[in-house]
């Protein structure tokens, strides 16, 4: 079980690059977007689009999505009852803004790409140095295990 084959050095895998509205450590260039110039916003959005396009061309792009900041908490409330909804809770510490899924040959490559995405320009056209969370997907269990 696990990557216990003698060829276990290949780390072809999918990774999630997770971007947070809130909850990540503070970025270096931490000025929020509503205080940027129009050109700075345009440059930032273009950088993000170019990044995705580049990953499509390298055959490493799986998908990318952005999330609205406000959501609802939902839970089962017993047989025959409608689900209970609540929130949004302003005090929630961690708030996910969006993600990109990549399919790469190594962990090192995933780190490299996350670093590149974190360099997206912000205020004064300088890199944001935003913290992105990098999470590996579970893959299939390998066939050869002994």
């Amino acid at each position: 079980m696990g990557r216990d084959s003698i060829e276990g050095d290949s780390e072809m895998a999918k990774y999630l690059l997770l971007k947070h509205y809130r909850g990540a450590p503070a970025a270096v260039n931490d000025v929020p977007m509503d205080q940027w110039t129009q050109d700075e916003i345009t440059a930032h959005l273009q950088y993000m689009r170019d990044f995705a396009t580049k990953l499509e061309a390298t055959g490493e792009f799986v998908e990318g999505q952005a999330l609205a900041p406000e959501g609802t908490w939902v839970r089962y409330d017993g047989e025959g009852k409608p689900p209970v909804t609540d929130g949004p809770f302003a005090e929630t510490k961690d708030l996910i803004a969006g993600w990109m899924v990549i399919d790469v040959d190594s962990y090192e490559r995933a780190v490299e790409l996350a670093g590149e995405l974190s360099a997206a320009p912000g205020k004064d056209g300088k890199p944001i140095h935003e913290w992105l969370e990098l999470r590996p997907f579970y893959g299939n269990p390998p066939t050869i295990t002994e």
Binding site: R3, D4, I6, M12, E63, D103, P142, E146
Partner: protein, 383 residues
């Protein structure tokens, strides 16, 4: 229509086009188009000579694709040259394609994708589905791979080891989509074994067969993993095991041991045992020693520690484990197992929980969590 036949003809047809002067990338595209046409046409109008039909259709598609003015001049030259079928045999073409698609300049994922398309005859969509990426992404991966090897001469001798590595990766991926990658890897390795006489090719084929034969026993009805010791061995495919053993014995008899033969030998010993207790663990440890010398892989030594635990008792296994790096994948899971065998249930339960957090896939995580839960019920953890 026989899709396996159609796909098995793929590398030979690409080879014919390349020998007629088409570059590999264009030839591969043309053959892929011809395969799609065959799927449409053959059910109603099966050809008498399937390969001849494919060569004709692919060549026409190649000519159609080279319509530019500069290309037309080239085309006239090519048409003049067409009657020369070239001296190379089908077998040589097939082998050259394996080498090209596993060229060391390619990343593992590119080599895998290119091999499945150009040698395996799978469509880009099928490969994309098997690896759970968008078709556009897979198309780009394949197109870049073709660009990477565009300067490689088709008749250059390649390295069998890189080909085997790629086939091993395909096999070990198992199957998650419509395409059974394990079965496809076996088909491609079998085809390679007919194209080249090499003990490690035979060794890898045997290894695949000896693992594939046990597939039905490896997962329960609900999809959860079943450990080797708990598998219902009546579910194993004895015919496939017999074939694997025969191929392995013939390879070993040639006296050129390699890592795949050694791995297959270990798999064969497992297949040979009526149950876990009657397994010849002493011999398995010896094979791991051979394997460790061949590969110097820490993962081999980890598996060896498990085998030592069975052959000489859990204390000996833990001692062998103690010499290894704790950060190895599955180290904690092995430690948990050996501690349970040694009777230290609480340590085992704690380690199983820890191992579950480090698991590389979901079925394994669930398996390890169940082990922890089973032991915690037996002996609740101290508060």
């Amino acid at each position: 229509m026989d899709e396996a036949l159609l796909r098995s003809l793929t590398p030979g047809v690409i080879g014919v086009l390349v020998r007629r002067g088409a570059d590999f990338a264009a030839a591969e595209d043309a053959v892929q188009d011809a395969l799609l046409e065959a799927v449409r046409v053959w059910p109603d109008d099966p050809p008498r000579d399937p390969k001849g039909w494919l060569v004709t259709a692919a060549w026409r598609k190649f000519i159609d694709a080279t319509r530019a003015e500069s290309a037309r001049r080239r085309r006239e030259e090519l048409v003049d040259a067409e009657p020369e079928p070239g001296p190379a045999s089908d077998t040589d073409d097939t082998l050259q394609l394996y080498f090209l698609c596993a060229h060391p300049s390619l990343t593992p994922s590119s080599a895998v994708a290119l091999t499945l398309r150009a040698v395996g005859g799978l469509t880009t969509r099928q490969i994309a589905q098997a690896y759970l990426v968008p078709e556009a992404t897979m198309a780009q991966r394949i197109s870049r791979a073709k660009k990477t090897v565009s300067d490689v001469r088709f008749d250059q001798p390649g390295d069998v080891a890189t080909v085997l590595r790629v086939l091993y990766l395909v096999f070990n991926e198992g199957y998650s989509g419509d395409v059974d990658l394990a079965a496809e890897a076996i088909r491609l390795t079998r085809q390679l074994a007919t194209a080249i006489d090499h003990p490690e090719v035979a060794g890898l084929l045997a290894l695949m067969l000896l693992h594939h034969a046990r597939r039905a026993g490896r997962t329960a009805a609900d999809g959860s993993l079943v450990a080797l010791a708990d598998q219902d061995r009546s579910k194993w495919d004895t015919e496939m095991i017999a074939e694997g053993v025969e191929i392995l014995q013939a390879a070993l008899a040639r006296g050129r041991l390699g890592e795949f033969q050694a791995q297959a030998a270990i798999a064969a010993l497992h297949c040979d045992a009526p149950d876990a207790a009657e397994t010849d663990w002493v011999q398995i440890v010896e094979w791991y020693d051979e394997l460790a010398e061949l590969t110097d892989s820490p993962i081999v030594r980890l598996n060896r520690a498990v085998a030592v635990g069975e052959a000489d008792g859990p204390r000996a296994g833990l001692k062998a484990l103690g010499e290894l790096d704790e950060s190895l994948p599955r180290y904690t899971a092995v430690a948990a197992y050996l501690h349970e065998r040694d009777g230290d249930v609480q340590t085992a339960a704690r380690l199983y929980t820890e191992a579950a957090k480090k698991a590389a896939n979901l079925p394994e995580r669930e398996y390890l969590t169940r082990q922890a839960a089973r032991l915690n019920r037996k002996s609740p953890p101290h508060p």
